[in-house]
């Protein structure tokens, strides 16, 4: 077998491709992440429309595909075919480059997001600093887009958004610092770290998620971050930059077609990115629940079945949907489509379960066939990615939930919360964490 494939089993493969110096795997990871994030954004788009509709006692998209499953594809085709308008008085070059700035900033941060101990493109030793820095560049795209449109609503939207993002970055940064401080609060004398993988490993070594550490300090810092990240991504209830009742559509009023969809893509990619920061810093990253308490081989096996069982559950939902669909001939194609989709999900579930079972035999040293070590490596990788993605998915659902639940803030209220409530609390939490942490030194 070619070397670069066998190198997957190499002991060095426990490193990220960045630190192992393997360009081939780095490229593969980049492609997987790019495709994965794009698919996640598409799924999120459908889920948001569906969930919002159900929150508001509507059905949401129902026409394109069964339960509107193909709606995102229809949307994407519509956006690509739409006329791409650049206003006559706009600054052509800046108008053109603004969505790209946002998109670049949103996607670049994914190089350091740790989906697993080796499932990241690279493990920078300034990981979290890099993430905060690059994601703060995203605001430039918004500011510049609002200015280049040469129109009133976009300009006001851009001003609001930049003021909001700059103010919430402060509280967010302080909350992050208190989590970084916790990485050094251990009894075995290791130093703290800024590396994203190192932060999760610190939680592993200390046997605690940082959200529960020094209770309630870790929890308050997490809550500050969870609020600030909604403001950072300009989502409801902090979506003043695009408050449609006041500003039409805010900073992207003048954008249409593909360029507008780039803004949407950047917004959702940034949402996933900040959620993964929260998961990495406070919720144990890729770790499954209770890795220290329930570590008997039987528990390991049970937890390794989770990804397969999740897909089996999704397949079951799809099958039930197929069975419940009207048997009228009008729905024939939709029924077949949904059945095929359910079968596909079921196949993935079967594959994951087989990998888990074969991997277990490799652990026990029973099977001598060549596939077993591969299956064990795959199973570990899938487990890590599964738990990480599951935690991020909870946050993504919360974003929808917030949007459906809370009314939008007024701008002065937003600023008051940012500077007079969140900033002092996060500063206090940081100081208290440092004081309480003195007992570890």
């Amino acid at each position: 077998m070619p070397n670069f494939i066998m190198s997957y089993l190499d002991s060095r493969a426990a490193l990220t491709p960045g630190s192992a110096g393997s360009q081939f795997w780095a490229l593969i990871y980049v492609l997987i992440i790019f495709a994965g994030v794009s698919v996640a954004v598409i799924c999120m788009n459908w889920l948001e429309r569906k969930a919002l509709a159900h929150f508001q006692v509507r059905l949401g998209p129902m026409r394109v595909g069964p339960h509107g499953l193909l709606q995102p594809i229809a949307d994407a085709i519509k956006l690509m075919l739409k006329e791409d308008i650049i206003p006559a008085e706009a600054d052509q070059f800046v108008f053109w480059v603004a969505p790209l700035i946002g998109l670049l900033a949103a996607f670049t941060v994914y190089t350091v997001i740790p989906f697993g101990p080796s499932q990241a493109v690279s493990d920078m030793n300034i990981g979290i600093l890099f993430m905060l820095g690059v994601s703060s560049l995203g605001v430039l795209g918004i500011v510049v887009a609002g200015w280049a449109s040469n129109s009133h609503y976009p300009l006001i939207g851009a001003l609001r958004s930049s003021a909001q993002m700059v103010s919430y970055e402060v509280a967010m940064g302080l909350a992050v610092v208190s989590a970084i401080l916790m990485t050094s609060l251990n009894t075995n004398g290791t130093d703290g770290t800024l590396s994203m993988i190192g932060i999760v490993q610190a939680q592993q070594q200390q046997h605690i998620w940082f959200i529960f550490k020094l209770f309630p300090l870790g929890f308050i810092a997490f809550a500050i971050f969870a609020i600030a990240m909604v403001a950072e991504t300009n989502r409801a209830p902090f979506d003043l930059a695009e408050a449609e009742s006041e500003l039409t559509a805010g900073f992207h009023t003048e954008y249409s077609g593909l360029r507008w969809s780039l803004f949407m893509l950047a917004e959702y990619a940034a949402m996933i990115a900040v959620s993964s920061i929260a998961v990495t810093l406070w919720l144990g990253g890729w770790m499954r629940p209770f890795p220290n308490l329930l570590h008997a081989p039987a528990w390991e096996f049970i937890f390794s079945l989770f990804p397969g069982l999740t897909f089996a559950g999704l397949a079951a939902i799809a099958f039930i949907g197929t069975a419940r669909m009207s048997s009228h001939s009008f729905f024939k194609i939709q029924r077949i489509g949904l059945a095929v989709f359910a079968a596909l999900l079921g196949f993935i579930a079967l594959l994951l379960l087989v990998i888990a079972v074969v991997g277990r035999s490799a652990d026990a040293g029973v099977a001598a066939q060549v596939a077993a070590p591969f299956a064990a490596r795959f199973r570990d990788g899938i487990d890590h990615v599964y738990w990480f993605v599951l935690k991020v998915a909870v946050f993504m659902y919360m974003f929808i939930w917030y949007r459906a639940t809370w009314p939008r803030y007024r701008f002065d209220q937003l600023m008051k919360i940012g500077w007079k409530v969140m900033l002092p609390i996060s500063l206090g939490v940081l100081i208290l964490t440092a004081i309480v942490g003195m007992k570890f030194s």
């Binding site: 500011v143 851009a158 590396s195």
Partner: protein, 203 residues
């Protein structure tokens, strides 16, 4: 991750690869330097202030890339957060509120240009002398070896710790720059208070 673990990893990688070559080749340096210079020139030649600001952001980012090449990742990260992400957003914020149409018609070369030229020449002379004398300052004249450990052979993860040790001091000792650092932060605090008092008559 603790440094011990890191050096173990690094040595494992080095042993397996037959010596780890730096990923950043000279081409990265030339590309980044060219980008910094070209966008730096654009900053002063563009008529439109927003275009200048965007070019300045490119300059700052490529300088951050140069820091990364010098194995100073912490400085690079701070450069991105503070300059590109923080200060430039405020710059753009202000520029957007200025009437560009009028300001772009203003004459750009007014009577203070000789002052600017003198300052630029002085800075240039400083840089040239620093490069010329660099050999004797950075290398020990008796042995000809560098005074400091070669950054290329330090574990990359040490950079942040080195800065922390210089600013805050290692276990119990006062750092080399602790006093200067605290004075600087006091100065910044005074500046913040001054700005608040000047803008807000009633708090």
């Amino acid at each position: 991750m603790n440094p011990g673990m890191y050096s173990a990893l690094n040595s494992a990688v080095t042993a397996a690869n037959g010596g780890m070559a730096p990923v950043a080749t000279p081409w990265f340096f030339y590309a980044l330097a060219a980008l910094a210079v070209v966008s730096g020139v654009l900053v002063i030649t563009r008529r439109n202030a927003v275009h200048s600001a965007l070019a300045l952001i490119v300059t700052l980012l490529s300088v951050a890339g140069l820091y990364l090449m010098l194995y100073a990742p912490f400085v690079a990260g701070v450069q991105i957060i503070v300059y590109a992400g923080g200060i430039m957003v405020l710059f753009l914020f202000v520029i957007m509120l200025v009437n560009i149409d009028r300001s772009s018609k203003d004459r750009r070369f007014n009577r203070i240009w000789p002052v600017g030229l003198t300052a630029a020449c002085a800075l240039m002379a400083l840089f040239v002398s620093a490069i010329m004398k660099g050999q004797s300052v950075l290398n020990d004249p008796t042995t000809g070896k560098p005074r400091w450990p070669d950054p290329l052979h330090l574990p990359e993860s040490m950079n942040t710790q080195q800065i922390a040790n210089a600013l805050y001091g290692e276990a119990g000792k006062m750092g080399q720059y602790t006093f200067a650092f605290e004075i600087a932060s006091l100065l910044l605090l005074v500046a913040i208070l001054g700005a608040v008092i000047m803008t807000k008559k009633k708090i």
